[in-house]
Amino acid sequence: MSPSLIKQTFLKTKKENRPALITFTVAGDNSKNKSLEILKSISQYADICELGFPHNTPIADGGQIQTSSHRAIKNGFKINDVFSITKKFKEIKKSKPIILMGYYNIIYQYGENNFLNDCYKSKVDGLIIVDLPFPENIKFANKCKKKNINFIQLISPTTSHLRVKQIIKYSHDMIYYISMLSTTGGKLKISSKKILERYGKIKNLTKSKNVVIGFGITEKTIKSLKKADGLVVGSAICKEITNSIKKRQNIVTNVTNVVKRLKNKIK
């Protein structure tokens, strides 16, 4: 079996001696078509694209992503949209990995198997489920693996050493390290040095898996963390969408510029 698109991407960025840039946007923000346009455009610079499927009761998201999610739902987002957006995106960007991210209730209502079938059909590469932690997620993670979908485990600063080891064991090609105790989009409240120190401890346990860092990463902070395998930027992008709407400017152009600048900082 050939390595997953996600793995291939990391092999490539490592060769280029830089971290993978991973973006997060919300499907349907601020409309179905617009979010597809944004995705297409930012993928010129992003190595992996995360696409959130919005939930109206998110317990781990900060203000920026909440705003994006509510906007998408208000504008009529339906869960099928996330699959159709992915499908259309993949038709033109075949080799760009797409990771869906969201809360478990949406999958639960859709049915785990139905959800994974539709992920498979629309060529989703990975899944992040915010509120389905280890070890409760083992069964679902195995189902994902059978469909060649990466289930991305999360590790946080509160995760114990023993737990980190177990989580690594059950992870696939990519692990998401949460930089600090925060919801998404919080201000980085500890030093990059400290984050990289903790990150290093995880990496020491797993040379082969790719560990990315997310939460609190902006144009200001991204450079200081470029030693990581990958860096996720979400809230900073959602914020740009909000600002562009407020200023009645071109959302696609503005957001693409943000992503371009982020990429330049870690080249």
Binding site: P58, Q109, S156, T158, L181
Partner: protein, 409 residues
């Protein structure tokens, strides 16, 4: 799915925290796994620790004022005809509602864990008021998360919270009610779990919070069991325990000691908020057959749309205005041990008028939902049937709503 006898309901879950294999659990972000595990271990120790139990009992007696009284509503019974209607006047507890039990226990746990900050959510404002009282009593700094809509409609409790030195954090997201307050409170905990203790205001949320709250409010039925025996020299043959259900903390506390009894002897009736008579919205996931979903870290029956987005709810009673419900009640529903129904806003208001007309009792809009059911069924029942309503809150907080809707308070 079966109930076990001789084991408290709060302990009848599997290793992943599920009651009946599907209700409850801990659907939390990774960051909260460790603080929840710490809290779980601590609580397991404390509830077996004689010194801690002694301390809890001391504060329940001397600070909360246990036991609350158990009285016959003579005039109301005579007027309705049929069954005898009694009340367990839990609103006599310090602060005016059952929320003080859970708040006091959380404050004691917070102290035992060496944390100085405590946070909590509130709908009607009682959970928040009690937590702010307990925080003041035990020297803790306190933040209360409350929906902006609730801040407006439950002003007397907000004044009390502030007077106790706690900060109210208004929540403007979503419907600006309890559901959003709980979300925001959890988000704050995610960011500050290293030195902040979180109290969930009802028997909802991740497994451990259901357990702590249920363990605390169980005091109500422990008292009632003794009071029943004192009054009747035995547990009577036909009892109906009627309680309102929002999250379900007072109902669980009112019932916990009686779950093992045959339902022909002791029937458990939960009354949810049916919302305004002419509205499609309600807060009655159990009695209006909502589907199972995941909300605030637990699986339960939840008012939601097909896609899993949580629905807006509507009720005159802020304390019941919540789309989810305790996994304990889902379990009691599916095992058919308890029966769940609803009362509309209008039913509750009518019950308030009836009860206050005949009795020296001033139940808040939440227990008025339970009184509405008592008023409905009492005339059809025999004289030897004992209906007991948990009058779990005082109507002072509803002053503005009652004035507006009934023209008097």
């Amino acid at each position: 799915m079966k109930l076990k006898k001789g084991t408290p309901l709060i302990d009848q879950h599997d290793k992943y925290g599920f009651w009946g294999g599907k209700f409850g659990g801990s659907f939390v972000p990774e960051t909260l796994k460790k603080p929840i595990e710490d809290l779980t271990i601590k609580f397991q120790k404390l509830r077996k620790d004689k010194k801690f139990i002694k301390k809890k009992d001391f504060y329940f007696k001397n600070y909360i004022g246990s036991p609350t009284s158990f009285i016959k509503l003579e005039n109301l019974s005579n007027n309705l005809g049929g069954a005898q209607v009694w009340a367990k006047v839990v609103s006599e507890a310090n602060g005016g509602a059952h929320k003080i039990y859970n708040a006091t226990v959380h404050a004691l746990i917070c102290k035992a864990m060496g944390k100085k900050y405590i946070i909590g959510d509130t709908g009607a404002g009682y959970a928040g008021k009690m937590l702010s009282m307990a925080a003041k009593k035990f020297g803790l700094k306190c933040k209360i998360f409350m929906g902006a809509k609730d801040i407006k409609r439950q002003k007397p409790n907000c004044d009390a919270i502030r007077k106790n030195g706690a900060e109210i954090v208004p929540v403007y997201s979503g419907s600006q009610t309890l559901v959003d307050a709980v979300s925001e409170c959890m988000r704050y905990w995610v960011s500050n779990c290293d030195n902040v203790h979180m109290a969930v205001g009802s028997t909802v949320g991740p497994n451990i919070f259901v357990k702590i709250c249920g363990w605390s409010t169980a005091q109500i039925s422990k008292e009632l069991k003794i009071q029943l025996t004192d009054q009747f020299h035995t547990i009577p043959k036909k009892i109906k325990l009627i309680n309102c259900v929002g999250g379900g903390s007072s109902a669980y506390g009112f019932w916990s000691e009686f779950i093992d009894y045959d339902k022909k002897q002791i029937e458990l009736i939960g009354v949810e908020a049916g919302g305004p008579k002419n509205s499609k919205l309600h807060a009655a996931p159990l009695s209006k057959n909502a589907k199972i979903g995941i909300l605030h870290g637990a699986a339960s029956y939840v008012c939601q749309n097909k896609e899993g987005q949580i629905s807006e709810t509507e009720s005159i009673s802020a304390g019941l205005d919540y789309p989810g419900v305790s996994p304990l009640h889902c379990f009691l529903k599916d095992t058919k041990r308890a029966r769940y129904t609803f009362a509309t806003d209008e039913d509750a208001l009518h019950a308030y008028e009836m009860v206050t007309k005949y009795e020296k009792l001033n139940p808040s809009l939440e227990p008025c939902h339970a009184f509405a059911e008592a008023i409905k069924i009492a005339p059809k029942l025999s004289k030897d049937t004992i209906i007991i309503v948990n009058s779990c809150g005082d109507a002072k907080k509803d002053r503005d709503i009652l004035k507006k809707r009934l023209g008097k308070y």
